[in-house]
Amino acid sequence: MYLALINPKAGNGGYQKIKREVEGLYRKLKLKVTSLPVEDLNNLPRLLKKELSEKNYKAIIIFGGQATLSAVIGALENKTTTPLAIVPLSKGRHLSDLLKLKKGKEAILAIKGGNILNFPLGKLGEHFFIGKLIVAPRQARVVTGNLLKASWKNLLKLLGGQTKTRRSIATTLEIDNSCTVKAQAIAIEIEPKMENSKPYLHISLETQAESSRAPSPTRMQAQKVKITSSLDMPVISGGELLTKTPVTIECLPETVPLILPKKNGTK
């Protein structure tokens, strides 16, 4: 038995456009699915707890974007048990690209023939996230599109527009309460990663060096980072503005099990 959580607002009503195809896939794969539309994500923890207490679901299929995924992960009391299959319905392709899904239906097909991959999980305030967060100067435009595929220089072009001037802001990062990093930051990328089964935050900081040489990157690993800046900087995930600095971002010890098609580099 499978549970499908549907955010009808995600992707401007994207579920309605694929509903017939999805139901056809359920029949084709002989999946018994309980569909649960969630109009208000604030109600999701209560609804999910009720469903999970009544039935034993093999997996949860999520129709939505980063916000829906965050709400589901937050609602799951034991985050590492129930596998999740995500059918991205975001406006941008951030989640699709992160999970290497060309089409959303691949996530449903993977339920029968895919693998489960444990994704490292980050937390920004009450918001859970997978993939990269970008913290960039004030005039950065919130863009949708292929942020993850963009090279570092193209990314800065997308964030800062086509202007040649790259603005930097005095920024302080407190790493794991043990190191203070001060720099003129052009952009900061934070991504939960895993090495030897240990999750951590990978921090990439591009700065404006005082010398005339090209800016050099700074990379660090951490469990927790607090970012403050002289001017507020947007924090962007998948083309969506989440919040502004100051922020505290941490890597969680748990990982989230995601069902992915076998071709997606699962080891």
Binding site: V181, E210, P215, T218, R219
Partner: protein
């Protein structure tokens, strides 16, 4: 592969890289390589290697496996394997290492102690007992 100034590019995938123009203060402990191209003050500790770039300024004690210094270090340095002070490197502090190389132009101002990597030799026990007698004349 031995890391030298010529192939600092080996460190491009370093887990921790402090770029030029970045100031870090605190204790940095990691299992992987560390490269400092900016300013670091505090304590550096890793099971792997440390590279101090030409423009870097480190005011810290460093404890690592191999340490390559092309910039300035003020502090004590312990390298369990190799310490290399390159021609632009300047170290002001005491150093301990199993192997020490100072290139022409490199500066070390402090005490140097070699760490032995030899295994302790087993104590030799006599194969016979020596009898002594106080009454021998």
């Amino acid at each position: 592969m031995a890391k030298t100034r010529a192939n600092f590019a080996d460190f491009k995938e370093t887990a921790t890289l402090i770029g030029a123009g970045v100031y870090v203060e605190g204790t940095l402990k990691t299992e992987n390589d560390i490269q400092i191209n900016g300013i670091f003050k505090g304590k550096l500790e890793t099971a792997a290697d440390v590279v101090v770039g030409e423009e870097a300024e480190v005011r810290a004690d460093i404890d690592a496996q191999n340490i390559y210094i092309a910039g300035q270090v003020k502090g004590n340095v312990i390298a369990t394997e190799k310490l290399e002070i390159l021609e632009t490197g300047r170290v002001f502090g005491d150093v301990k290492s199993a192997s020490l190389v100072i290139e022409p132009g490199g500066i070390l101002k402090g005490k140097s102690e070699m760490l032995s990597t030899e295994e302790e030799k087993p104590e030799l026990k006599p194969t016979y007992e020596v009898e002594t007698s106080e009454e021998e004349s």
